[in-house]
Subunit: 189 residues, 2 copies
């Protein structure tokens, strides 16, 4: 905890120990204590990389759509690998073209999911109850394949999902790969 605080504040060992004592081990409070004493510099942030990976961008011709993505891997060796880089570029194109909102299903907020379930259930009113659940699940899958990057059909090869493409890359490269985050900007949106 002391080492973590030192890394976050740049303050000395003794100052950090004392601040943690005063804050009863609360790191955020200890940072505030150190800053009040002037022992930590303002707005200093820990920015040590904890994982390897690649940040890549894509700007569509004309500059009206842009994408930024972070894909993590285990070693810097892989981060510099040409196959890996090409894969990350493909993901950028995918996001630019297909506008996903989330990386994976577990990022979809429960409230959104409930709304989709309600809409799907309303659409199938009157159908036999046995069929309803199946239809609703089908509609949810369709929703996921619209908003989740990993569930989308890969634009360059629509018979595969992006998740299948990722699995292929993991097998090929021999390292765990993870799409950590992405963002898509569009002018005026």
């Amino acid at each position: 905890m002391v080492a973590d605080l030192r890394e976050k504040t740049g303050a000395g060992l003794l100052d950090c120990k004392k601040a943690l004592g005063e804050s009863n081990g609360n790191v955020d409070e200890a940072i505030t204590i150190l800053r009040k004493k002037g022992a930590a510099s303002a707005a200093k942030k820990a920015d040590r990389a904890t994982k390897e990976g690649l940040i890549e961008s894509y700007i569509h011709v004309g500059g009206k759509v842009g994408v930024l993505i972070e894909v993590n891997c285990e070693t810097d060796f892989v981060a510099r690998n040409e196959d890996f880089r090409a894969f990350v570029k493909d993901l950028c194109l995918q996001i630019a073209a297909a506008s996903p909102q989330y990386v994976s299903r577990d990022e979809v907020p429960e409230s959104e999911l409930q709304k989709e379930r309600d809409i799907a259930a309303a659409q199938v009113q009157g159908k036999p109850p046995a069929a309803v659940q199946k239809i609703v699940e089908g509609k949810l899958d369709k929703y996921y394949s619209t908003v989740c990057l990993l569930d989308q059909p890969f634009v360059k090869l629509p018979e595969k999902t992006v998740k299948e493409l990722l699995t292929d890359q993991i097998a090929k490269i021999g390292e765990n790969l993870q799409v950590r985050r992405f963002i898509r900007y569009q002018i005026g949106q």
Copy 2:
């Protein structure tokens, strides 16, 4: 409102009018109503550009740091202007190098500001009260110039702030320009 709803859902004029009636003019609710009826396609989003501008990115050598930015202007003519494009590129470099967290002062959350004020006040304890306010204000200015893009000294010409650079560009180009948003990714951060 009907036109807005049509744009957002792709549904027909009459369906939109009826849905707005049912929702008492609440557009979000009207969208849900239309989707339940199947008149609006799932996850369809309005993506008509309402402003002109440019989206630009910068990836630092090695792909460990990346920036995406949207800068708005009034006409597409300016968005294609070389000076404007060079200015937007400079902003990307600024963000990569100086890691601002906000575009401008008004984006800093009040809670953050209060924390900075408390810290500054604690640091100047014991000083004459007349001096305290001035010192605290000075420290806040310092804080803003660390975390707000527009308050930062421009890395390529530190005697100017980014805001001054922006003002120069507005005068030179003859259109209002606005940094709408940006994001900075760093591996593992």
